[in-house]
Symmetry: D2
Subunit: 390 residues, 4 copies
C-alpha cells in the first residue's frame, strides 16, 4: 500500500547533469518499485545561481529552492542530503551534513584527495548516518547479474580484468575549459571522472587492488576559457585561453590482491566512443563482457558448455531472472542510463529503512580515492605504487 508508506525527505545541493539524474531517480523510484520502503519527497534543491536553480526546481519538480547550501542542511524537514556539486565542494558539504545527522548521497569521486575523503568517512561514521557514493554503473542490471555469476563461482578464479572507459566529448580543441578540466575543482580529469567508475566496477566485481603503475597525458594543454557549466557540452570563447590542469587520458596496470591482472584505460580522446564504458573479465571457467553503450546486454562465455557449442552468449538482461528487470518492462524492452540511478537509490533507501549500510559508500569512496592517488603518484614518479602506501 503506497499510501501509507513512510516518506523520506531529500535536499539536493547542485542541479546540473547529475542533479537531473538523481532527481529523476527519486521521482521514478516509487513508480517502479512497489516494495520501496520509503517514498522520496523532493523537498529542496540548492544552487548559487538563483535563476538557474529556480528553473531546475520547477523543471524537476522540487518543492522549493535555496541559494545557500547551508540552509538546506539546517532544515529540520530534510532526511537526506544529496551532493551533486563539483568535486571540490563535496567534503565541506558532506561533513556539514553528517554533523547535522543527515544521510548522504554524493556524486563520485568522493573528494579531491584521500585526506579529504577520509575526513568525510570519519564524519559519517561518527554521526552514524547512512552514506553512498553514486557509482551508478554497479547498478546496471547486467552488472548486477555479472556480480551474481561471479559470486556463484560461475567463472571461477579470475585471471584478467580489462576495463576501457572511452569518451570523445572534448576532442575538439575549441571545447572550453570547463570545471571538469581544472584540477582545483575536479581533482583529476579522465582518471577521476570516468576511470573512477572502472575502478569501482573492478573493486565490486573482482576485489581490492594491491598496486598500480600508470601513465597519464594531457593532449590539448590550453583551451578557451568558457562557461563553467556542469554539463558535458559547452561552447568556449576562443579569445582567452587557459591551462588544462587535468589528464585527458590515463592507462593503468594493476595487480589485485587475489592475483588478478588488471588493465584500465580512461580517456576523453577516443573518437567515436561516446560513452564506451566497458570491461571484460576472464576467469578459469568463463568470461564476461559488458559495455555501457549497450548496457542491457551481457556477454557470457562458459567453458563448461559442450564442445563445439561454446561461445559468448549475448544475454539481454531484461528477463525476469535478471536483477531489477521485473521492476521495469517485459523481456526485450530495454532500459537506459537513468535506470542505474533508480536502482542505486532504491538500495540507498533500503539501507536507511532497514538500517544497514549500502554500497558503494564512503568507504568505497575512500578506497577509490586511494587508488586514484596511487595512480597519479605512479604516473608522476614513473613507478609502481602500493595501494597500502597511500
Amino acid at each position: 500500500m503506497v499510501g501509507v508508506k513512510k516518506k523520506i525527505r531529500i535536499g539536493m545541493i547542485g542541479y546540473q547533469f547529475m542533479g537531473k539524474a538523481h532527481s529523476h531517480a527519486y521521482r521514478d523510484l516509487p513508480f517502479y518499485f512497489d516494495d520501496a520502503p520509503l517514498i522520496p519527497e523532493l523537498k529542496v534543491i540548492a544552487g548559487r545561481n538563483e535563476e538557474a536553480v529556480k528553473q531546475a526546481q520547477e523543471q524537476m519538480g522540487w518543492e522549493s529552492y535555496e541559494t545557500d547550501w547551508r540552509k538546506v542542511i539546517e532544515r529540520d524537514d530534510i532526511d537526506v542530503i544529496d551532493i551533486v556539486t563539483p568535486n571540490h565542494t563535496h567534503a565541506e558539504i558532506a561533513i556539514a551534513a553528517a554533523e547535522a545527522g543527515k544521510h548522504i548521497m554524493t556524486e563520485k569521486p568522493l573528494a579531491l584527495t584521500v585526506e579529504e575523503s577520509k575526513r568525510m568517512l570519519e564524519a559519517v561514521q561518527k554521526h552514524g548516518v547512512k552514506h553512498m557514493v553514486c557509482h551508478n554503473y554497479r547498478y546496471a542490471p547486467a552488472v548486477q547479474f555479472a556480480k551474481k555469476l561471479i559470486d556463484e563461482g560461475k567463472i571461477g578464479r579470475i585471471y584478467h580484468f580489462r576495463a576501457n572507459y572511452l569518451q570523445d566529448f572534448i576532442m575538439d580543441p575549441s571545447f572550453p575549459l570547463v570545471w571538469r578540466l581544472k584540477k582545483e575543482v575536479s581533482g583529476s580529469g579522465a582518471l577521476g571522472d570516468i576511470g573512477a567508475h572502472s575502478i569501482d566496477l573492478a573493486r565490486f566485481l573482482v576485489g581490492e587492488i594491491e598496486e598500480v603503475t600508470a601513465m597519464m597525458d594531457t593532449f590539448i594543454k590550453e583551451r578557451p576559457i568558457g562557461e563553467m557549466t556542469g554539463g558535458l557540452s559547452a561552447q568556449g570563447d576562443a579569445q582567452e585561453m587557459g591551462e588544462v590542469t587535468v589528464d585527458d587520458a590515463v592507462a593503468i596496470l594493476a595487480r589485485f590482491e587475489n592475483g588478478t591482472m588488471g588493465t584500465f584505460e580512461a580517456t576523453r580522446f577516443a573518437g567515436g566512443n561516446r560513452n564506451k564504458n566497458k570491461f571484460e573479465i576472464n576467469g578459469e571457467k568463463g568470461s564476461i563482457r559488458w559495455d555501457m553503450e549497450n548496457m542491457n546486454n551481457l556477454e557470457l562465455y562458459l567453458a563448461e558448455d559442450r564442445d563445439g557449442e561454446q561461445g559468448f552468449r549475448l544475454i539481454h538482461c531484461t528477463d525476469e531472472a535478471h536483477p531489477y528487470a521485473a521492476n521495469y518492462w517485459p523481456s526485450g524492452h530495454i532500459i537506459g542510463y537513468e535506470h542505474t540511478f533508480i536502482n542505486l537509490v532504491d538500495e540507498f533507501f533500503r539501507g536507511i529503512a532497514e538500517d544497514y549500510q549500502p554500497t558503494p559508500n564512503f568507504e568505497d569512496g575512500v578506497r577509490n580515492q586511494i587508488i586514484l592517488e596511487a595512480v597519479e603518484k605512479s604516473a608522476e614518479e614513473k613507478r609502481w605504487v602500493s595501494i597500502d602506501k597511500i
Copy 2:
C-alpha cells in the same frame, strides 16, 4: 516557466502493461521537456477490478480511480481519455469519449475490425477532438532520425522494406490462454499485436501499401485456461484447456504504392528473440537498419561514401543532432523503451496545444487495420488482396 504552464487533465481506462507505459510517460514528460506546452495531470484511472485499479492508482500516482469507465468520460475535469484496455473495448470507449469532446490516446491496434475503426475515426472527426494511436516505435529517436534521412533523400528511391518482429514469450505450451490469444478480445495474434507495429513503421518510413499476400499459422492450438491478465507473463492452470483462436505467426509479402517490395514477419515463436522488432530499408543511395533490442543504434549505409570506406555506420542516436536526444542525457548515455512513449505523448500534447492533428492517429489506425484485414483475408483465401478492396 513551468509554474504557469497550462495543465492537461488525463483520464486513463485500463491499468496494465500499457497503462504503466503511458502513466510513466505523463509523469516524465514535464521533467524532460522544458518546452512542453501542456503539463499532464494524472486525474483518474479506471478498471473493473477495484483492488487492482486502486493499487495501480497508488503505485503510478493517479489522483483517483473508477471502476466504471463511463464515469471517467462523464467527468468535466478530464481533457484526455487514454485507452489502454484490451482491443475489443477500444471502439466503444473511444466513441463515447469523442462524443464527450475528449481528446483521445489509444493503444494499438485501433480496433478489432476495419468497420469498428472507421466508426471511431468518424466519431473523432465529427467531434473535432485530437486523436492518436500509440504506435510508439515511431518515436524511438533512431526511427525519427531514419525518417529524417529518408525525407532528405539520403537513401533515394526505396527498393526494399524488410521487417521482422520476433518474440518468444509464448513458446512454452504451458503458457496460458491469455486475452491476447483469443480472437474475440484481441482481434488477431502476432499480426495485430506486433505485426501492426511493423506495418506502422513501414507506412511511416516508406509509404502506403497497395497489396499483400500472407500466410498465418497457429503452432500451439490449445493452451491451459489461465488468468486473463494483460501482462505478457502468466502461469496457466494445466487442467482445463482452451482453443487458441489467433495466429502465432504471420509472414507477408507486400507491394507498396511507390513500387517498394516489402516483406514482413511477425511471430511469437522465434526463440531467443525477446522483442526483436527490426527492419532494414534498401534505397538506391543507401540502406538503414534498426533493431528495437538495441534501439539507440541506427545502422546507416551510404553509397556516396568513398570507395573502400563504405560500410554500415553504427550510429549511436544519442548525439544532440538526433531527434529528442537533447531532452535526455549526454551523448552515449542510452535511453530505453519507455522513452518512446514520452516522445509520443509530447507530440500528442503539442498537437492539442497548437491545434494540429499529430500522427499516428485514428486515420493511421484505420489504414493499419485495413492492412491487417487484407493480410488475414489473403492468408485465408491464399491470394493477393488489394488494400483498396477492403
Copy 3:
C-alpha cells in the same frame, strides 16, 4: 601415404569466377585433407576464347586446354567433367558427359528449366555416374555444424526458416547487361543465382517445400550492353542499351512439408550488403543464425540454458569439434569462401571413391529447379503454387 594414392583426372568446362573457385579447390584438397581418397589431377580446361582459356590454364595450373568442350568429354584420360559455364549450357554438356561415363560436378542452378534438369538427372542415373551440384554454402563448417545440431534434435521442431540473400553489385544503372541479366542464358536473376542457394540451404537444413507464393521485380529495366564476362564486375558501354530480362529481386513465402513457415528474399539491390547470405531458424528448443559475410560464426540459442543465462552464443566454428575445422587451422584462425568448395569437392571424391552418391546432387538440382519454377509461376500468376504441381 599421399604418394600412392589413386588419382582422379578432371576436365573443366568454363574458366571464369566459378572456374577459379573449383580449380582452387582441386589444388588445395590434397594439401588440407590427408585422408583424401583421391588426388585430383587438373588435366584440361576448356573455353571458346583461346587466349582467355590459355591464360586461365597457366594461371590456375591446368595441364592443357581446349576450345571445344566436346573434345574434353571425348578424352579417355578424364574421370570427371566439371561444368562452370553459364547456365544455359549445363544440360547439353552434362548429358554428353554422362553418356561418356564421366562423373559430373556442375555449377548451380542445374539448368534453365525443370524439363532440362530432369533430362540431366535421367542421364546421370542411366549411366551410373556420380553427380553433384555446387551448392557450396552447405559446406561452410558452420552450416554443417548447424545441420548436425538440427539432426541431433538440439532445436526441436522447426517453426521458422528465414533466409535473406542480399547483394548490391548491380545497383549502379551503368552496370552492363552481363549474361547473368539475360534470361535465355541464366534462366533467372537473383532467384536462380542467389535465391537458389537459400533454397538449397532450406532443403538441407529443414526439409522439402510444399508450396510457395512469391513476388519478383526488375528495378532497372535497361542496361548498357557490355562484355558478357562471367565475373561479377564489369564496365558497360553506355551507348547501346539492352533489356534486362531477369529479376533483380524476389521475395517468397513458403510452406514446408513439415509445417515450417519459410520466408526467402534474394536481391541484388540491397546497398551495403555485398554478399549477405544469411538465415535464421527458430525451433521449439532453440534457434540458429548464420551469415556468410562472417561465415565462421554460428549463432546458437538454446532454450534449455539456465534462466538468465540464455542468449545467442556466438560460436566461432573453428574448434576441432566443428566439421572440417581440423583440416585447416587452429581454433580462432578463420577460413573463407574458397574453403566451402574444398569441403564440397572432398565429399564429391569420397562419393566416387566409396561408391555412394554425395549430396547435393542432380536430384537436389531438380528439386531446386522445381521450386525456382514454382516461384516464377507464383509471381507471374500471383497465386500460391504447389511444388508437386510442377
Copy 4:
C-alpha cells in the same frame, strides 16, 4: 604469361603449424597473383623426424625432404631458406643461410634475444640477401587498408593505440608442457608468441615505441610433460610434471616516440577468445578497430562525417578498393587466415625480383626483439624501461 616466369626455389626448415601456413602460401601465390614476378618451387623441406617430415613433404607437395637442415642450405638449387622451426634455432639457421647467400624468410619472433637477433641482422646485411620476418597480420587486407588510411592522414595525429591479443588454448591445466611453454626454446610465452604480433602492428601503424612498463604472470606454473609438438593442441601425460618457464600473460603500457599512448595485453588465459588479435587506434580525426577473428572487417570512425551520421563503419574489406582484394574473390566473399601469408610472400618475392628490401624484415625483427626484452626487463624490475637503453 605464367609459363615463362622466373622460378624461385624454396627450402623450408621445419614443417609444423607454420610450415603448413608457409607451404600453402607458396602453392597458392601463382594461382591468385597473375602478376607475381617469381613462381615458387617447393624444392625441399627439412625436419629431424624422418617419418614426420616425409609425410609433410608428401602432404604439402614438396619435391624432396632432408633430416639435416644444413643439407638444405648447402644445396645450390635453393634460392630462399624459410625457417619455421622453434625460436631457439632461428639464429643459427638464418646466419648459415645468409652466409650461403640465400634469401631468408623466418617466423617470428626473430630470435630468443636481442643479441641473437642483431647477429642475424648483421649476417643478412653483410651478405646482401633479402630477409623477412613473418608478421603475417600486417598483410591482412583490412590492416593494409588501415595503414593506407593512416598514411593519408585520414585519422590525423594518433592519441591511442590499444591492442589485445587474447587466446585460451592452454587454460586447461592438463595441457602439456609444449615447447612454446619453455623459455629456452621459445624465449618467452604470450609475450613473444602473440604480443610480438601486436607490437609489430603497432610499429607498422603508429611508429616506434620509446619506453615501456609491463607486468607478466604465469598462472599455471607446472604442467604435464608432453609431446614437444609444434601444433597448438596436444595431450599431456599427467604423470610427470615440468615447470612452465614462460609468461602466460603480459600487460604493457607504452609511450611511442610520437607521443601516442599505447596499451598492450597478450594472454593465453582469456576464455572464449580463441585468437582475438585486435586493436583500436584513436586519432584526432578518426578511429580504427580491427579484430583478427573477423579479419575481413575494419571499423572506421570519421569525425568529419556529418553531425548525426557519425558512427563506426563496418567495412567489409573485400571490395576492389581494398588491398589484395582483387586477387581473391568478388566483394563480400571473405578470405581467411592463410591469405595473410600469401600476401606477405607476394611482397617478399617482389622484393627479391625488384631488388628492394621488403618489410617486416630482420630490422623490424631486431626492433621487435628489443621491445620484448624491454618489456621483460620492466616486468622483472618493476619500472619503466627506455627502448634505447636495451
